[in-house]
C-alpha cells in the first residue's frame, strides 16, 4: 500500500479510533487534532518506504501521543525533542503494545468522539459540521461545499461549535452502562442528520452525496462498537435502504421522481441486500424502535418489484406502530399516504384533517393534501393546496414537481 490514495484511505479509516484515543490523552480537541495531523504527516513520510503498519490506528495513536507530548514540552520549553527516527522506527511490537493499551477503551473513545458532536446546545447544522470535521476528518473546504457556504463561514461555524463544546466540558470519564445507553440516541440522531443533509439536498454535487456515504460509514462504525443494539441496526438498515434509491430519485432534468414512478432497476441492489440483512438481524431481537420500523417500511418498498406490488396495508400497520413509538404529525401524514393507497384518497384525507394546524407550514403536507384532493376530484381545493406547497417548497426541484401536478390538474379541467 504505497499509493498515496490508499494511505489516505487507511488514515481516514483509522481516524475515529485514533482521534478518540488522543482526545482521551490530551483532553483537548485542538491538541488531539494537531497530534493526529502530525501522526498522519509522519505516516505519509514513512509508510511508503517501510510499508504500512499492521495496525494503522495503533501506530497513529502511539506517534500522535508522542508528538502531542513533544508539542506540550516544546511550548513549556523544558525538555529537548526526542529523535524523530526513534519515532518513525516504530516496530510492530510497540504498535501492538499501544493497541493493547487502547483496545479496552476503543468503544468508549469512539462513542465520546461522536457524542461531543451532539451537544444539545449545538444546532443541527453545527452538529453535522462538527461530526464531519472531527469524526470523519473531512476538510473544511469540502464541508463548506457540501453546505453551499463559504469556507470562512464554515471555518467560523466549526470554531464556534468547538468553543461551545469545550465550554460545556467534555465527558472524559469512562461512561457507566446507563450513560453509555444515554449517549447512543443523540449519536444515532446525529448520524441520521448527516445522512439527511446529503439525502434531502436534491440533485447533488459529489460533495453533498458524499455525506450519505459518510453517514453509512459512521453507522457501520457505531454498529461495530455496539454490535447487539437493534436500533443501531435499524438506523444502518434505514439509511442503506434509502440511499439505495439515489440513482432513481431525480430525472435527467434534475426533477424529483416520486417513489412510485422511480425506475427500480436503478436502485442499488447491493445496498438493498445489505440493508435487508441488517434489518433481519435487528428484528430477531424483538425490541422494535423508530429506526427499525422506518427501516421495515423502507424494506417493504425495496422488496416490491413494482410500485403497484407495494404492500400498503402492511406499511399502514408499521406507521401505526411508529405513531405509538414516536408520535408526530409527520408520521401521521406519512400514514395518510399509505392509507390512501390501501383504502382510497378519501380515507387518507380523513387522517390529514386534524393535522392542518400542526403542519400548516410544511411543504410536504400541502403537496400530499393536494394530490389526495385531486384524486378525490376536488380540483379547486387541490389547486389551493398545491399553491401553498409551492410557496413552502424547500428547493426548486420540489417546486417544479408541484407545478407539474398543477399542470396535470389544468389539463383535466375541460373534462371536469
Amino acid at each position: 500500500m504505497t499509493d498515496p490514495a490508499w494511505i489516505d484511505l487507511a488514515l481516514t479509516a483509522a481516524r475515529p479510533q485514533a482521534m478518540g484515543a488522543l482526545l482521551r490523552y490530551f483532553r483537548n480537541l485542538d491538541t488531539a487534532e494537531e497530534a493526529f495531523q502530525e501522526a498522519c504527516l509522519r505516516a505519509i513520510r514513512t509508510w511508503p518506504e517501510k510499508g504500512p503498519p499492521r495496525d494503522p490506528a495503533a501506530w497513529l495513536i502511539f506517534v500522535g501521543r508522542n508528538s502531542g507530548v513533544d508539542v506540550i514540552r516544546k511550548t513549556a520549553r523544558t525538555t529537548a525533542l526526542p529523535d524523530e527516527t526513534a519515532l518513525s522506527d516504530l516496530s510492530d511490537a510497540e504498535a501492538d503494545m499501544a493497541d493493547r493499551l487502547d483496545s479496552s477503551h476503543y468503544r468508549d473513545d469512539i462513542l465520546r468522539l461522536m457524542f461531543i458532536c451532539c451537544h444539545p446546545d449545538l444546532p443541527a447544522t453545527q452538529q453535522i459540521a462538527l461530526a464531519l470535521r472531527i469524526v470523519s476528518g473531512i476538510g473544511v473546504p469540502r464541508i463548506a461545499r457540501a453546505f453551499l457556504v463559504s469556507e470562512s463561514a464554515m471555518e467560523q461555524r466549526i470554531t464556534r461549535a468547538k468553543a461551545r463544546v469545550a465550554k460545556a466540558g467534555l465527558p472524559f470519564e469512562a461512561p457507566a452502562a446507563t450513560e453509555r445507553a444515554e449517549r447512543l440516541p443523540p449519536v444515532m440522531a446525529m448520524i441520521y442528520l448527516v445522512f439527511n443533509e446529503g439525502y434531502s439536498a436534491g440533485v447533488s454535487t459529489p460533495d453533498v452525496a458524499a455525506l450519505c456515504d459518510e453517514a453509512i460509514r459512521l453507522g457501520r462504525l457505531l454498529l461495530r462498537i455496539f454490535p447487539s443494539e437493534p436500533e443501531v441496526m435499524g438506523l444502518l438498515a434505514l439509511i442503506l435502504l434509502q440511499h439505495a434509491r439515489r440513482g432513481a430519485r431525480y430525472d435527467e432534468r434534475g426533477e424529483m421522481v416520486l417513489l412510485e414512478d422511480q425506475d427500480r432497476s436503478l436502485w442499488d441492489r447491493r445496498q438493498i441486500e445489505e440493508g435487508l440483512a441488517v434489518l433481519d438481524k435487528a428484528i430477531r431481537h424483538r425490541q422494535p424502535g423508530p429506526y427499525q420500523v422506518q427501516a421495515a417500511i423502507a424494506a417493504l418498498h425495496a422488496r416490491a418489484a413494482s410500485a403497484k406490488d407495494t404492500n400498503w396495508a402492511e406499511i399502514d400497520l408499521l406507521y401505526q406502530v411508529l405513531e405509538r413509538l414516536s408520535p408526530s404529525p409527520v408520521v401521521t401524514l406519512n400514514r395518510a399516504v399509505a392509507v390512501s393507497k390501501a383504502k382510497g384518497a378519501g380515507e387518507g384525507l380523513l387522517l390529514l384533517e386534524p393535522l392542518g394546524e400542526a403542519l400548516d407550514g410544511y411543504f410536504y403536507f400541502h403537496g400530499v393534501r393536494g394530490a389526495l384532493l385531486a384524486q378525490a376530484g376536488e380540483t379547486r381545493a387541490a389547486r389551493d393546496a398545491f399553491g401553498r406547497a409551492i410557496a413552502l417548497a424547500n428547493s426548486p426541484a420540489e417546486a417544479a414537481h408541484i407545478r407539474q401536478e398543477l399542470d396535470r390538474l389544468q389539463d383535466e379541467r375541460p373534462a371536469s
Binding site: R224, P227, M233
Partner: protein, 124 residues
C-alpha cells in the same frame, strides 16, 4: 489439490472505496482469475458483506446462542474467498500473489487445502 483462498482485509478501508476505485479493483481481480477460470481450475468464489451484517451461532452451556457480529473481533476481517483446483501449492501461492498485487488494500490471502469439497447446488 483443492484449496480455499480466503481474503482478509481491514474492512474500514475496503468499504470506504469509492465506486470507481471499487470497480477498478474488481476489474483487476477478475482479470487475474480469468486464466484460471479458462483452464477450468476456478471453483465457487464469493465476496462477503461487512461484519456488521454478520451473525454468529455459538455453542452455549445448554444450547447454541446467537450473537450479533462476526465470530472474532479482528483487525482484518474475512471479506471474500476463492476455491481453486491447482496442481501444486506453488501454483496457489502464485495466484494469491497476483490477487494481492492488484489489490491495493493491506490484504492477506490465506491458502487452505480442502479435506472435503461439495460444490452444492446454489446458483446465487
Amino acid at each position: 489439490m483443492l484449496y480455499a483462498i480466503l481474503c482478509y482485509a481491514d474492512e474500514e478501508t475496503v468499504f470506504a472505496w469509492s465506486k470507481e476505485e471499487e470497480a477498478a479493483v474488481m476489474g483487476r481481480l477478475y482479470a487475474v482469475q480469468e486464466p484460471l477460470a479458462q483452464a477450468g481450475k476456478l471453483g465457487p468464489t464469493g465476496r462477503l458483506m461487512p461484519t456488521t451484517a454478520a451473525t454468529t451461532v455459538r455453542k452455549g452451556k445448554e444450547e447454541p446462542i446467537v450473537l450479533d457480529g462476526p465470530f472474532a473481533e479482528t483487525k482484518e476481517a474475512l471479506l471474500g474467498f476463492y476455491t481453486v483446483d491447482v496442481e501444486t501449492l506453488d501454483e496457489a501461492v502464485a495466484f494469491a500473489r497476483q490477487l494481492s498485487s492488484v489489490n491495493p488494500g493491506s490484504t492477506a490471502y490465506e491458502i487452505r487445502p480442502f479435506y472435503v469439497f461439495h460444490p452444492g447446488s446454489v446458483t446465487g
